[in-house]
Protein backbone atom coordinates (compact mmCIF):
# COMPACT_ATOMS: atom_id res chain seq x y z
CA UNK A 1 0.00 0.00 0.00
CA UNK A 2 1.26 3.43 -0.96
CA UNK A 3 0.33 6.35 1.24
CA UNK A 4 1.08 9.93 0.33
CA UNK A 5 0.34 12.56 2.94
CA UNK A 6 0.41 16.32 2.37
CA UNK A 7 3.09 16.07 -0.28
CA UNK A 8 4.45 19.44 -1.43
CA UNK A 9 7.27 20.11 -3.83
CA UNK A 10 8.69 23.55 -4.55
CA UNK A 11 11.58 23.63 -7.02
CA UNK A 12 14.56 25.88 -6.31
CA UNK A 13 13.32 28.33 -8.96
CA UNK A 14 10.12 28.80 -6.96
CA UNK A 15 7.78 26.65 -9.04
CA UNK A 16 5.12 25.00 -6.93
CA UNK A 17 4.92 21.58 -8.58
CA UNK A 18 2.89 19.73 -5.96
CA UNK A 19 0.56 21.44 -3.56
CA UNK A 20 -0.42 19.43 -0.50
CA UNK A 21 -1.28 16.19 -2.30
CA UNK A 22 -2.66 13.32 -0.22
CA UNK A 23 -3.42 9.96 -1.75
CA UNK A 24 -3.65 6.29 -0.85
CA UNK A 25 -3.10 3.56 -3.42
CA UNK A 26 -4.15 0.05 -2.45
CA UNK A 27 -2.24 -3.02 -3.61
CA UNK A 28 -3.13 -4.23 -7.08
CA UNK A 29 -4.73 -1.02 -8.28
CA UNK A 30 -4.08 0.42 -11.75
CA UNK A 31 -4.14 4.13 -11.04
CA UNK A 32 -3.88 6.56 -13.93
CA UNK A 33 -2.71 10.10 -13.23
CA UNK A 34 -4.22 12.67 -15.59
CA UNK A 35 -3.35 16.29 -16.06
CA UNK A 36 -1.93 18.82 -18.48
CA UNK A 37 1.77 19.16 -19.08
CA UNK A 38 3.28 20.88 -16.06
CA UNK A 39 0.48 19.87 -13.74
CA UNK A 40 2.88 17.92 -11.52
CA UNK A 41 2.39 14.34 -12.74
CA UNK A 42 6.09 13.65 -13.31
CA UNK A 43 7.04 15.29 -10.03
CA UNK A 44 4.51 13.18 -8.14
CA UNK A 45 5.87 9.94 -9.60
CA UNK A 46 9.50 10.97 -9.05
CA UNK A 47 8.83 11.91 -5.43
CA UNK A 48 7.66 8.36 -4.74
CA UNK A 49 11.10 6.88 -5.44
CA UNK A 50 12.85 10.12 -4.45
CA UNK A 51 14.37 10.86 -7.82
CA UNK A 52 12.96 14.23 -6.83
CA UNK A 53 13.37 15.28 -3.22
CA UNK A 54 9.99 16.36 -1.77
CA UNK A 55 9.87 19.71 0.03
CA UNK A 56 7.46 18.48 2.71
CA UNK A 57 5.01 15.70 3.41
CA UNK A 58 5.42 11.98 3.95
CA UNK A 59 5.32 8.96 1.67
CA UNK A 60 4.87 5.46 3.06
CA UNK A 61 5.35 2.34 0.97
CA UNK A 62 4.07 -0.82 2.67
CA UNK A 63 4.45 0.94 5.99
CA UNK A 64 8.07 1.95 5.37
CA UNK A 65 8.80 5.64 5.23
CA UNK A 66 10.28 6.69 1.90
CA UNK A 67 10.75 10.30 2.84
CA UNK A 68 13.58 10.59 5.30
CA UNK A 69 15.11 7.24 4.37
CA UNK A 70 18.91 7.15 4.34
CA UNK A 71 20.94 6.63 1.15
CA UNK A 72 21.21 2.88 1.74
CA UNK A 73 17.55 2.56 2.76
CA UNK A 74 16.29 4.51 -0.24
CA UNK A 75 18.23 2.19 -2.54
CA UNK A 76 16.49 -0.79 -1.00
CA UNK A 77 13.11 0.92 -1.36
CA UNK A 78 13.82 1.91 -5.00
CA UNK A 79 14.60 -1.72 -5.70
CA UNK A 80 10.97 -2.61 -5.10
CA UNK A 81 9.66 0.23 -7.28
CA UNK A 82 9.94 -0.29 -11.01
CA UNK A 83 9.83 2.73 -13.27
CA UNK A 84 9.37 3.29 -16.98
CA UNK A 85 9.75 6.61 -18.76
CA UNK A 86 8.42 8.55 -21.72
CA UNK A 87 11.83 8.48 -23.43
CA UNK A 88 12.39 4.82 -22.40
CA UNK A 89 15.79 5.85 -20.92
CA UNK A 90 17.62 2.82 -22.20
CA UNK A 91 21.36 2.93 -22.69
CA UNK A 92 21.23 3.21 -26.47
CA UNK A 93 24.66 1.77 -27.20
CA UNK A 94 24.14 -1.14 -24.81
CA UNK A 95 22.67 -4.47 -25.86
CA UNK A 96 19.07 -5.30 -25.02
CA UNK A 97 20.25 -7.94 -22.55
CA UNK A 98 22.63 -5.57 -20.76
CA UNK A 99 19.86 -3.01 -20.45
CA UNK A 100 17.53 -5.56 -18.91
CA UNK A 101 20.22 -6.91 -16.59
CA UNK A 102 20.93 -3.40 -15.30
CA UNK A 103 17.52 -3.59 -13.63
CA UNK A 104 19.04 -6.14 -11.29
CA UNK A 105 21.79 -3.84 -9.99
CA UNK A 106 19.98 -3.10 -6.75
CA UNK A 107 20.22 -6.78 -5.76
CA UNK A 108 23.77 -7.67 -6.69
CA UNK A 109 26.26 -8.36 -3.95
CA UNK A 110 29.10 -9.76 -6.06
CA UNK A 111 31.74 -7.74 -7.87
CA UNK A 112 30.80 -9.28 -11.23
CA UNK A 113 28.61 -6.38 -12.36
CA UNK A 114 31.57 -4.03 -11.95
CA UNK A 115 33.00 -5.72 -15.02
CA UNK A 116 29.58 -6.20 -16.65
CA UNK A 117 29.16 -9.86 -15.60
CA UNK A 118 25.98 -11.16 -14.00
CA UNK A 119 25.12 -14.46 -12.28
CA UNK A 120 23.57 -17.11 -14.52
CA UNK A 121 20.34 -16.91 -12.53
CA UNK A 122 19.99 -13.22 -13.37
CA UNK A 123 20.64 -13.85 -17.05
CA UNK A 124 17.93 -16.53 -17.00
CA UNK A 125 15.57 -14.14 -15.28
CA UNK A 126 16.36 -11.52 -17.92
CA UNK A 127 15.63 -13.94 -20.76
CA UNK A 128 12.38 -14.91 -19.08
CA UNK A 129 11.30 -11.29 -18.71
CA UNK A 130 12.25 -10.53 -22.30
CA UNK A 131 10.10 -13.44 -23.40
CA UNK A 132 7.20 -12.03 -21.45
CA UNK A 133 7.40 -8.74 -23.36
CA UNK A 134 7.95 -10.58 -26.63
CA UNK A 135 11.49 -9.63 -27.62
CA UNK A 136 13.52 -12.65 -26.54
CA UNK A 137 14.99 -12.95 -30.04
CA UNK A 138 16.80 -9.63 -29.98
CA UNK A 139 18.87 -9.86 -26.84
CA UNK A 140 22.24 -9.24 -28.50
CA UNK A 141 21.12 -6.24 -30.53
CA UNK A 142 21.93 -2.69 -29.62
CA UNK A 143 18.97 -1.06 -27.89
CA UNK A 144 18.73 1.81 -30.37
CA UNK A 145 18.15 -0.58 -33.26
CA UNK A 146 14.72 -1.34 -31.81
CA UNK A 147 11.52 0.55 -32.55
CA UNK A 148 9.99 2.83 -29.92
CA UNK A 149 7.43 0.28 -28.79
CA UNK A 150 10.05 -2.44 -28.53
CA UNK A 151 12.35 -0.14 -26.54
CA UNK A 152 9.56 0.55 -24.07
CA UNK A 153 8.98 -3.18 -23.70
CA UNK A 154 12.69 -3.64 -22.95
CA UNK A 155 12.26 -0.93 -20.31
CA UNK A 156 9.35 -2.89 -18.84
CA UNK A 157 11.51 -6.01 -18.75
CA UNK A 158 14.23 -4.02 -17.00
CA UNK A 159 11.73 -2.84 -14.40
CA UNK A 160 10.46 -6.43 -13.90
CA UNK A 161 14.02 -7.51 -13.06
CA UNK A 162 13.57 -5.56 -9.83
CA UNK A 163 10.66 -7.82 -8.85
CA UNK A 164 8.76 -4.69 -7.94
CA UNK A 165 5.60 -4.39 -5.92
CA UNK A 166 4.86 -0.99 -7.43
CA UNK A 167 5.35 0.18 -10.99
CA UNK A 168 5.64 3.87 -11.83
CA UNK A 169 5.05 4.77 -15.45
CA UNK A 170 5.77 8.34 -16.46
CA UNK A 171 3.81 8.92 -19.65
CA UNK A 172 4.99 5.58 -21.02
CA UNK A 173 3.22 5.97 -24.36
CA UNK A 174 3.50 9.70 -25.00
CA UNK A 175 6.16 9.22 -27.68
CA UNK A 176 4.49 6.22 -29.31
CA UNK A 177 1.82 5.95 -32.00
CA UNK A 178 -1.71 4.88 -30.95
CA UNK A 179 -1.43 1.23 -31.99
CA UNK A 180 1.91 0.78 -30.24
CA UNK A 181 0.54 2.62 -27.21
CA UNK A 182 -2.06 -0.05 -26.74
CA UNK A 183 0.43 -2.89 -27.12
CA UNK A 184 2.70 -1.33 -24.48
CA UNK A 185 -0.15 -0.57 -22.09
CA UNK A 186 -1.46 -4.11 -22.48
CA UNK A 187 1.84 -5.43 -21.15
CA UNK A 188 1.57 -3.05 -18.22
CA UNK A 189 -2.01 -4.21 -17.64
CA UNK A 190 -0.87 -7.82 -17.79
CA UNK A 191 1.77 -7.46 -15.11
CA UNK A 192 -0.77 -5.57 -13.01
CA UNK A 193 -3.36 -8.32 -13.36
CA UNK A 194 -1.17 -11.43 -13.34
CA UNK A 195 1.47 -10.42 -10.81
CA UNK A 196 -0.58 -8.06 -8.75
CA UNK A 197 1.94 -5.26 -9.20
CA UNK A 198 0.37 -1.94 -8.31
CA UNK A 199 0.61 0.51 -11.21
CA UNK A 200 0.74 4.28 -11.02
CA UNK A 201 0.78 5.57 -14.56
CA UNK A 202 0.53 9.09 -15.92
CA UNK A 203 -1.22 9.51 -19.26
CA UNK A 204 -2.29 12.31 -21.56
CA UNK A 205 -5.32 10.75 -23.15
CA UNK A 206 -8.53 10.27 -21.22
CA UNK A 207 -9.60 7.51 -23.61
CA UNK A 208 -6.51 5.46 -22.75
CA UNK A 209 -7.07 6.13 -19.07
CA UNK A 210 -10.69 4.95 -19.28
CA UNK A 211 -9.60 1.77 -21.03
CA UNK A 212 -6.87 0.70 -18.59
CA UNK A 213 -7.41 2.38 -15.24
CA UNK A 214 -9.22 0.91 -12.25
CA UNK A 215 -9.04 4.36 -10.73
CA UNK A 216 -8.17 7.81 -12.00
CA UNK A 217 -6.66 10.76 -10.20
CA UNK A 218 -6.15 14.15 -11.77
CA UNK A 219 -3.71 16.93 -11.01
CA UNK A 220 -4.09 20.56 -11.92
CA UNK A 221 -1.39 23.07 -11.06
CA UNK A 222 -0.02 20.67 -8.46
CA UNK A 223 -3.36 20.12 -6.71
CA UNK A 224 -5.32 16.89 -6.63
CA UNK A 225 -8.59 17.83 -8.39
CA UNK A 226 -10.13 14.43 -9.00
CA UNK A 227 -9.95 10.98 -7.44
CA UNK A 228 -12.42 8.35 -8.48
CA UNK A 229 -13.55 5.74 -10.97
CA UNK A 230 -12.98 6.16 -14.70
CA UNK A 231 -16.71 6.21 -15.30
CA UNK A 232 -17.14 9.21 -13.03
CA UNK A 233 -15.31 11.56 -15.37
CA UNK A 234 -18.07 13.38 -17.24
CA UNK A 235 -17.89 16.49 -19.38
CA UNK A 236 -17.86 18.87 -16.41
CA UNK A 237 -15.11 16.95 -14.65
CA UNK A 238 -13.12 16.77 -17.87
CA UNK A 239 -13.28 20.54 -18.27
CA UNK A 240 -12.28 21.00 -14.65
CA UNK A 241 -9.11 19.00 -15.28
CA UNK A 242 -8.15 20.17 -18.73
CA UNK A 243 -9.64 23.67 -18.84
CA UNK A 244 -12.71 25.13 -20.55
CA UNK A 245 -11.30 25.06 -24.08
CA UNK A 246 -10.34 21.41 -24.09
CA UNK A 247 -12.08 18.88 -26.27
CA UNK A 248 -11.91 15.13 -25.88
CA UNK A 249 -9.85 13.26 -28.40
CA UNK A 250 -10.53 9.59 -28.99
CA UNK A 251 -7.47 7.48 -29.47
CA UNK A 252 -8.08 4.23 -31.32
Amino acid sequence: MLEIRNLTKIYPNGTLALDNVSLTVRDGEFVVVLGLSGSGKSTLLRCINRLVEPTSGTILLDGKEVTGASEAEIRRIRRSIGMIFQQFNLVKRGTVLMNVLSGRLGYVTTVGPLVYRFPAADIQRAMHNLERVGIADRTRQRADTLSGGQQQRVAIARALMQEPTLMLADEPVASLDPATSHSVLRYVEEINRDQGITVLCSLHFLSLARRYATRIIALKAGKLVFDGLPSEIDDARFKAIYGEDAIQVEIA
Binding site: L51, R75, R79, F85, N89, M98, S102, R104, L105, G106
Partner: protein, 397 residues
Protein backbone atom coordinates in the same frame (compact mmCIF):
# COMPACT_ATOMS: atom_id res chain seq x y z
CA UNK B 1 2.87 46.08 -19.13
CA UNK B 2 6.39 45.04 -19.99
CA UNK B 3 6.43 46.96 -23.23
CA UNK B 4 5.20 50.11 -21.56
CA UNK B 5 7.99 49.80 -19.06
CA UNK B 6 10.48 49.42 -21.87
CA UNK B 7 9.25 52.53 -23.60
CA UNK B 8 9.37 54.49 -20.37
CA UNK B 9 12.95 53.42 -19.78
CA UNK B 10 13.98 54.30 -23.27
CA UNK B 11 12.37 57.69 -23.04
CA UNK B 12 14.15 58.30 -19.78
CA UNK B 13 17.50 57.36 -21.22
CA UNK B 14 17.08 59.38 -24.36
CA UNK B 15 16.42 62.55 -22.42
CA UNK B 16 19.99 62.20 -21.33
CA UNK B 17 20.77 64.53 -18.42
CA UNK B 18 17.78 63.11 -16.58
CA UNK B 19 19.38 59.76 -15.93
CA UNK B 20 22.85 60.85 -14.95
CA UNK B 21 23.65 59.40 -11.54
CA UNK B 22 21.09 60.34 -8.97
CA UNK B 23 19.96 63.48 -10.75
CA UNK B 24 16.39 62.34 -11.15
CA UNK B 25 14.35 61.14 -8.20
CA UNK B 26 11.91 59.42 -10.56
CA UNK B 27 14.57 57.40 -12.29
CA UNK B 28 14.54 53.91 -10.79
CA UNK B 29 17.27 52.73 -13.10
CA UNK B 30 19.87 55.36 -12.33
CA UNK B 31 19.81 54.70 -8.59
CA UNK B 32 19.76 50.93 -9.00
CA UNK B 33 22.72 50.90 -11.33
CA UNK B 34 25.09 53.42 -9.83
CA UNK B 35 28.09 51.03 -9.72
CA UNK B 36 27.45 49.93 -13.26
CA UNK B 37 27.16 53.51 -14.40
CA UNK B 38 30.40 54.31 -12.61
CA UNK B 39 32.22 51.42 -14.22
CA UNK B 40 30.89 52.55 -17.59
CA UNK B 41 32.26 56.03 -16.95
CA UNK B 42 35.68 54.63 -16.00
CA UNK B 43 35.64 52.52 -19.13
CA UNK B 44 34.85 55.58 -21.23
CA UNK B 45 37.63 57.45 -19.53
CA UNK B 46 40.09 54.68 -20.30
CA UNK B 47 38.85 54.48 -23.87
CA UNK B 48 39.32 58.23 -24.35
CA UNK B 49 42.86 58.13 -22.97
CA UNK B 50 43.65 55.13 -25.10
CA UNK B 51 42.24 56.80 -28.21
CA UNK B 52 44.31 59.96 -27.73
CA UNK B 53 47.49 58.07 -26.95
CA UNK B 54 47.15 55.60 -29.82
CA UNK B 55 46.15 58.39 -32.17
CA UNK B 56 49.31 60.37 -31.42
CA UNK B 57 51.37 57.21 -31.67
CA UNK B 58 49.96 56.46 -35.12
CA UNK B 59 50.49 60.05 -36.28
CA UNK B 60 54.11 59.82 -35.18
CA UNK B 61 54.53 56.53 -37.00
CA UNK B 62 53.00 57.96 -40.16
CA UNK B 63 55.20 61.08 -40.04
CA UNK B 64 58.29 58.92 -39.84
CA UNK B 65 57.14 56.47 -42.42
CA UNK B 66 56.09 59.08 -44.95
CA UNK B 67 58.79 61.75 -44.90
CA UNK B 68 61.29 61.34 -42.13
CA UNK B 69 64.06 58.78 -41.76
CA UNK B 70 62.90 56.46 -39.03
CA UNK B 71 65.44 57.26 -36.34
CA UNK B 72 65.14 61.05 -36.50
CA UNK B 73 62.88 62.81 -34.06
CA UNK B 74 62.14 66.06 -35.85
CA UNK B 75 58.62 66.80 -34.79
CA UNK B 76 58.87 69.15 -31.81
CA UNK B 77 55.35 68.50 -30.60
CA UNK B 78 55.84 64.74 -30.59
CA UNK B 79 59.37 64.90 -29.26
CA UNK B 80 57.96 66.09 -25.96
CA UNK B 81 56.29 62.78 -25.41
CA UNK B 82 58.66 60.56 -27.40
CA UNK B 83 56.47 58.18 -29.27
CA UNK B 84 58.90 55.82 -30.89
CA UNK B 85 58.27 52.28 -29.83
CA UNK B 86 61.86 51.37 -29.05
CA UNK B 87 64.10 53.76 -27.22
CA UNK B 88 67.45 54.34 -28.93
CA UNK B 89 69.37 52.74 -26.05
CA UNK B 90 67.60 49.49 -26.74
CA UNK B 91 65.39 49.82 -23.67
CA UNK B 92 61.87 48.86 -24.59
CA UNK B 93 59.15 50.91 -23.02
CA UNK B 94 55.57 51.36 -24.07
CA UNK B 95 56.33 54.03 -26.64
CA UNK B 96 58.11 56.04 -23.99
CA UNK B 97 55.13 56.05 -21.67
CA UNK B 98 56.05 56.33 -18.02
CA UNK B 99 53.58 56.50 -15.17
CA UNK B 100 53.58 60.33 -14.95
CA UNK B 101 53.00 60.51 -18.69
CA UNK B 102 50.18 58.01 -18.46
CA UNK B 103 48.50 60.03 -15.71
CA UNK B 104 48.94 63.13 -17.83
CA UNK B 105 47.11 61.40 -20.66
CA UNK B 106 44.28 60.42 -18.40
CA UNK B 107 43.99 63.95 -17.08
CA UNK B 108 43.97 65.46 -20.56
CA UNK B 109 41.30 63.10 -21.72
CA UNK B 110 39.05 63.52 -18.66
CA UNK B 111 36.69 66.07 -20.20
CA UNK B 112 35.89 63.74 -23.09
CA UNK B 113 34.24 60.95 -21.08
CA UNK B 114 32.45 63.52 -18.92
CA UNK B 115 30.97 65.16 -22.00
CA UNK B 116 30.19 61.80 -23.54
CA UNK B 117 28.16 60.74 -20.49
CA UNK B 118 25.47 63.24 -21.42
CA UNK B 119 24.79 61.45 -24.68
CA UNK B 120 23.91 58.19 -22.92
CA UNK B 121 25.21 56.36 -25.92
CA UNK B 122 28.86 55.72 -25.16
CA UNK B 123 30.87 52.59 -25.75
CA UNK B 124 31.38 52.16 -22.01
CA UNK B 125 27.64 52.14 -21.38
CA UNK B 126 27.23 49.67 -24.21
CA UNK B 127 29.85 47.35 -22.76
CA UNK B 128 28.14 47.50 -19.38
CA UNK B 129 24.83 46.62 -20.99
CA UNK B 130 23.30 49.89 -19.98
CA UNK B 131 22.51 51.85 -23.12
CA UNK B 132 19.50 50.57 -24.95
CA UNK B 133 18.95 50.80 -28.67
CA UNK B 134 17.63 54.30 -29.18
CA UNK B 135 16.59 53.88 -32.78
CA UNK B 136 12.86 53.58 -32.26
CA UNK B 137 12.81 56.97 -30.58
CA UNK B 138 15.48 58.81 -32.46
CA UNK B 139 15.28 57.13 -35.82
CA UNK B 140 19.04 56.94 -36.07
CA UNK B 141 20.52 53.81 -37.69
CA UNK B 142 22.92 51.80 -35.55
CA UNK B 143 25.99 52.69 -37.60
CA UNK B 144 25.54 56.38 -36.93
CA UNK B 145 25.41 56.03 -33.17
CA UNK B 146 28.19 57.39 -31.05
CA UNK B 147 29.31 54.10 -29.60
CA UNK B 148 29.73 52.51 -33.01
CA UNK B 149 31.73 55.54 -34.10
CA UNK B 150 33.97 55.23 -31.04
CA UNK B 151 34.44 51.53 -31.59
CA UNK B 152 35.39 52.04 -35.24
CA UNK B 153 37.90 54.80 -34.43
CA UNK B 154 39.50 52.68 -31.73
CA UNK B 155 39.58 49.68 -34.01
CA UNK B 156 41.36 51.56 -36.81
CA UNK B 157 43.84 53.17 -34.41
CA UNK B 158 44.63 49.85 -32.77
CA UNK B 159 45.21 48.17 -36.11
CA UNK B 160 47.56 50.94 -37.30
CA UNK B 161 49.50 51.00 -34.02
CA UNK B 162 49.80 47.23 -34.16
CA UNK B 163 51.16 47.43 -37.69
CA UNK B 164 53.81 49.88 -36.51
CA UNK B 165 54.75 47.92 -33.37
CA UNK B 166 55.03 44.64 -35.27
CA UNK B 167 57.31 46.41 -37.76
CA UNK B 168 55.31 45.08 -40.68
CA UNK B 169 57.19 45.97 -43.85
CA UNK B 170 55.92 44.35 -47.07
CA UNK B 171 58.49 46.12 -49.25
CA UNK B 172 61.33 44.75 -47.17
CA UNK B 173 59.85 41.29 -47.53
CA UNK B 174 59.75 41.55 -51.31
CA UNK B 175 63.36 42.76 -51.29
CA UNK B 176 64.39 39.70 -49.32
CA UNK B 177 62.42 37.30 -51.47
CA UNK B 178 65.53 35.95 -53.19
CA UNK B 179 66.98 34.80 -49.89
CA UNK B 180 63.77 32.92 -49.04
CA UNK B 181 63.79 31.30 -52.44
CA UNK B 182 67.36 30.08 -51.92
CA UNK B 183 66.39 28.33 -48.69
CA UNK B 184 63.20 26.96 -50.19
CA UNK B 185 65.17 25.40 -53.05
CA UNK B 186 67.37 23.60 -50.55
CA UNK B 187 64.35 22.46 -48.54
CA UNK B 188 62.78 21.05 -51.69
CA UNK B 189 65.86 18.96 -52.49
CA UNK B 190 66.09 16.82 -49.33
CA UNK B 191 69.26 15.06 -48.28
CA UNK B 192 68.24 11.41 -48.51
CA UNK B 193 71.37 10.12 -46.82
CA UNK B 194 69.86 10.88 -43.41
CA UNK B 195 66.45 9.45 -44.33
CA UNK B 196 66.60 6.20 -42.35
CA UNK B 197 68.06 7.91 -39.33
CA UNK B 198 65.21 10.42 -39.51
CA UNK B 199 62.68 7.63 -39.75
CA UNK B 200 64.11 6.17 -36.58
CA UNK B 201 63.84 9.53 -34.82
CA UNK B 202 60.32 9.97 -36.17
CA UNK B 203 59.39 6.62 -34.64
CA UNK B 204 60.83 7.87 -31.37
CA UNK B 205 58.53 10.89 -31.61
CA UNK B 206 55.49 8.77 -32.41
CA UNK B 207 56.14 6.40 -29.52
CA UNK B 208 56.96 9.23 -27.17
CA UNK B 209 53.58 10.76 -28.02
CA UNK B 210 51.87 7.40 -27.64
CA UNK B 211 53.29 6.71 -24.20
CA UNK B 212 52.43 10.24 -23.06
CA UNK B 213 48.86 9.74 -24.30
CA UNK B 214 48.44 6.33 -22.65
CA UNK B 215 49.77 7.56 -19.32
CA UNK B 216 47.54 10.61 -19.48
CA UNK B 217 44.42 8.45 -19.98
CA UNK B 218 45.10 6.69 -16.69
CA UNK B 219 44.98 10.00 -14.84
CA UNK B 220 42.52 11.90 -17.01
CA UNK B 221 39.64 9.39 -16.85
CA UNK B 222 39.19 9.32 -13.06
CA UNK B 223 39.76 13.07 -12.85
CA UNK B 224 37.19 13.66 -15.59
CA UNK B 225 34.46 12.02 -13.52
CA UNK B 226 35.40 14.20 -10.57
CA UNK B 227 35.33 17.22 -12.87
CA UNK B 228 31.86 16.59 -14.31
CA UNK B 229 29.28 18.92 -12.85
CA UNK B 230 26.32 16.61 -13.39
CA UNK B 231 27.95 13.84 -11.33
CA UNK B 232 29.35 16.07 -8.60
CA UNK B 233 26.23 18.08 -7.84
CA UNK B 234 24.57 17.60 -4.51
CA UNK B 235 26.94 18.27 -1.64
CA UNK B 236 29.38 21.10 -0.93
CA UNK B 237 32.26 18.64 -0.56
CA UNK B 238 31.60 17.21 -4.01
CA UNK B 239 31.31 20.68 -5.52
CA UNK B 240 34.62 21.65 -3.88
CA UNK B 241 36.34 18.65 -5.48
CA UNK B 242 34.73 19.56 -8.80
CA UNK B 243 36.01 23.13 -8.61
CA UNK B 244 39.48 21.93 -7.65
CA UNK B 245 39.70 19.44 -10.50
CA UNK B 246 38.35 21.94 -13.01
CA UNK B 247 40.86 24.51 -11.79
CA UNK B 248 43.67 22.02 -12.28
CA UNK B 249 42.48 21.29 -15.82
CA UNK B 250 42.27 24.94 -16.76
CA UNK B 251 45.61 25.95 -15.28
CA UNK B 252 47.63 23.07 -16.70
CA UNK B 253 45.90 23.26 -20.05
CA UNK B 254 46.81 26.91 -20.42
CA UNK B 255 50.52 26.21 -19.92
CA UNK B 256 52.20 25.30 -23.19
CA UNK B 257 53.89 21.92 -23.58
CA UNK B 258 57.02 23.89 -24.47
CA UNK B 259 57.13 25.38 -20.97
CA UNK B 260 56.72 21.95 -19.35
CA UNK B 261 59.44 20.62 -21.63
CA UNK B 262 61.89 23.29 -20.51
CA UNK B 263 61.15 22.38 -16.90
CA UNK B 264 61.43 18.61 -17.40
CA UNK B 265 64.61 18.90 -19.48
CA UNK B 266 66.28 20.50 -16.48
CA UNK B 267 64.84 17.78 -14.21
CA UNK B 268 65.57 14.59 -16.19
CA UNK B 269 67.93 15.88 -18.86
CA UNK B 270 67.67 16.13 -22.64
CA UNK B 271 65.93 13.18 -24.26
CA UNK B 272 62.58 11.61 -25.07
CA UNK B 273 61.71 11.08 -21.41
CA UNK B 274 61.60 14.83 -20.77
CA UNK B 275 59.45 15.34 -23.88
CA UNK B 276 57.12 12.54 -22.82
CA UNK B 277 56.63 14.08 -19.38
CA UNK B 278 55.87 17.46 -20.92
CA UNK B 279 53.25 16.03 -23.26
CA UNK B 280 51.85 13.86 -20.48
CA UNK B 281 51.16 16.71 -18.06
CA UNK B 282 49.50 18.83 -20.68
CA UNK B 283 47.50 15.89 -22.02
CA UNK B 284 46.10 14.97 -18.61
CA UNK B 285 44.63 18.45 -18.33
CA UNK B 286 43.30 18.79 -21.85
CA UNK B 287 42.00 15.24 -22.13
CA UNK B 288 40.46 15.55 -18.67
CA UNK B 289 38.65 18.70 -19.70
CA UNK B 290 37.38 17.15 -22.93
CA UNK B 291 36.30 13.97 -21.14
CA UNK B 292 34.45 15.79 -18.39
CA UNK B 293 32.63 17.98 -20.91
CA UNK B 294 31.58 14.80 -22.67
CA UNK B 295 30.28 13.40 -19.39
CA UNK B 296 28.32 16.60 -18.81
CA UNK B 297 26.69 16.27 -22.22
CA UNK B 298 25.29 12.77 -21.77
CA UNK B 299 21.61 11.95 -21.95
CA UNK B 300 20.49 12.10 -18.29
CA UNK B 301 17.62 9.66 -18.93
CA UNK B 302 19.55 6.40 -18.44
CA UNK B 303 21.13 7.81 -15.28
CA UNK B 304 17.68 8.47 -13.90
CA UNK B 305 16.50 5.02 -14.91
CA UNK B 306 19.47 3.19 -13.38
CA UNK B 307 19.20 5.25 -10.18
CA UNK B 308 15.54 4.27 -10.01
CA UNK B 309 16.44 0.56 -9.98
CA UNK B 310 18.17 1.05 -6.62
CA UNK B 311 21.70 1.05 -8.03
CA UNK B 312 24.57 2.70 -6.18
CA UNK B 313 26.30 5.78 -7.50
CA UNK B 314 29.23 3.74 -8.83
CA UNK B 315 26.88 1.30 -10.55
CA UNK B 316 24.99 4.20 -12.11
CA UNK B 317 28.22 5.61 -13.51
CA UNK B 318 29.24 2.20 -14.85
CA UNK B 319 25.89 1.35 -16.42
CA UNK B 320 24.43 4.70 -17.48
CA UNK B 321 27.39 7.03 -17.97
CA UNK B 322 30.25 4.81 -19.15
CA UNK B 323 28.48 3.27 -22.17
CA UNK B 324 27.61 6.75 -23.37
CA UNK B 325 31.08 8.24 -23.01
CA UNK B 326 33.49 5.45 -23.95
CA UNK B 327 33.27 5.92 -27.75
CA UNK B 328 33.80 9.70 -27.61
CA UNK B 329 36.59 9.15 -25.07
CA UNK B 330 38.35 6.87 -27.55
CA UNK B 331 37.90 9.38 -30.33
CA UNK B 332 39.32 12.22 -28.25
CA UNK B 333 42.24 10.08 -27.15
CA UNK B 334 43.26 9.21 -30.69
CA UNK B 335 42.94 12.85 -31.65
CA UNK B 336 45.13 13.73 -28.67
CA UNK B 337 47.76 11.25 -29.80
CA UNK B 338 47.71 12.93 -33.20
CA UNK B 339 48.20 16.32 -31.54
CA UNK B 340 50.95 14.93 -29.31
CA UNK B 341 52.96 13.63 -32.27
CA UNK B 342 52.84 17.11 -33.80
CA UNK B 343 53.67 18.81 -30.52
CA UNK B 344 56.52 16.37 -29.79
CA UNK B 345 58.40 17.98 -32.67
CA UNK B 346 58.13 21.42 -31.07
CA UNK B 347 58.99 19.95 -27.67
CA UNK B 348 62.06 18.32 -29.24
CA UNK B 349 63.38 21.79 -30.10
CA UNK B 350 64.10 22.47 -26.43
CA UNK B 351 65.55 19.03 -25.77
CA UNK B 352 62.48 16.84 -25.56
CA UNK B 353 63.92 14.15 -27.82
CA UNK B 354 62.55 12.69 -31.02
CA UNK B 355 62.84 14.21 -34.43
CA UNK B 356 62.38 17.75 -33.13
CA UNK B 357 65.83 17.70 -31.58
CA UNK B 358 67.41 16.68 -34.88
CA UNK B 359 65.39 19.30 -36.72
CA UNK B 360 66.66 21.93 -34.31
CA UNK B 361 70.27 20.89 -34.80
CA UNK B 362 70.04 20.92 -38.61
CA UNK B 363 68.39 24.31 -38.52
CA UNK B 364 71.10 25.68 -36.23
CA UNK B 365 73.77 24.37 -38.61
CA UNK B 366 71.75 25.82 -41.56
CA UNK B 367 71.74 22.42 -43.22
CA UNK B 368 68.59 23.20 -45.16
CA UNK B 369 68.73 20.03 -47.28
CA UNK B 370 68.49 17.98 -44.10
CA UNK B 371 65.79 20.21 -42.64
CA UNK B 372 63.95 19.46 -45.87
CA UNK B 373 64.24 15.72 -45.26
CA UNK B 374 62.85 16.03 -41.75
CA UNK B 375 60.07 18.34 -42.90
CA UNK B 376 59.11 15.92 -45.66
CA UNK B 377 58.92 13.03 -43.23
CA UNK B 378 56.95 15.12 -40.74
CA UNK B 379 54.40 16.09 -43.36
CA UNK B 380 53.89 12.46 -44.35
CA UNK B 381 53.47 11.24 -40.77
CA UNK B 382 51.23 14.09 -39.62
CA UNK B 383 49.06 13.74 -42.69
CA UNK B 384 48.74 9.97 -42.22
CA UNK B 385 47.94 10.28 -38.50
CA UNK B 386 45.45 13.03 -39.16
CA UNK B 387 43.67 10.92 -41.77
CA UNK B 388 43.67 7.94 -39.43
CA UNK B 389 42.34 9.82 -36.43
CA UNK B 390 39.69 11.55 -38.54
CA UNK B 391 38.54 8.16 -39.82
CA UNK B 392 38.40 6.67 -36.33
CA UNK B 393 36.55 9.67 -34.91
CA UNK B 394 34.01 9.48 -37.70
CA UNK B 395 33.35 5.84 -36.86
CA UNK B 396 33.07 6.41 -33.13
CA UNK B 397 31.06 9.57 -32.67
Amino acid sequence: MATEEEIRLEAELSIGTQSVVGSSPHSVLSTQHVPRRLVAFLLDWFIAGYAIYTGLFVVDALIHALWLPSKVNANPALDMIAYTWRQSEGVTTLGGVTLPKFLFFLLVSLPIPILLQFTNDTLGLRLMGWARPLLPLEGRPWYRTLWVFTAVVIGIETFMAGWYITEVDPIFYVQRFARGWRISKQLLTPDWSIFWMSVQLMLESIFLALIATVFSIVFAVPLAFLGARNLMRGSPVRMAIYTLVRGFFNIFRSIQELVFAIIFVTVVGIGPFAGMLALFVHSVASLGKLYSEQIENIDPGPMEAITATGATRLQTVLYAVAPQVVPPFLAFTIYRWDINVRTSIVVGFVGGGGIGLALFQYQQLTQWHRVGTVAFLTIIVVWALDALSARVREKLI
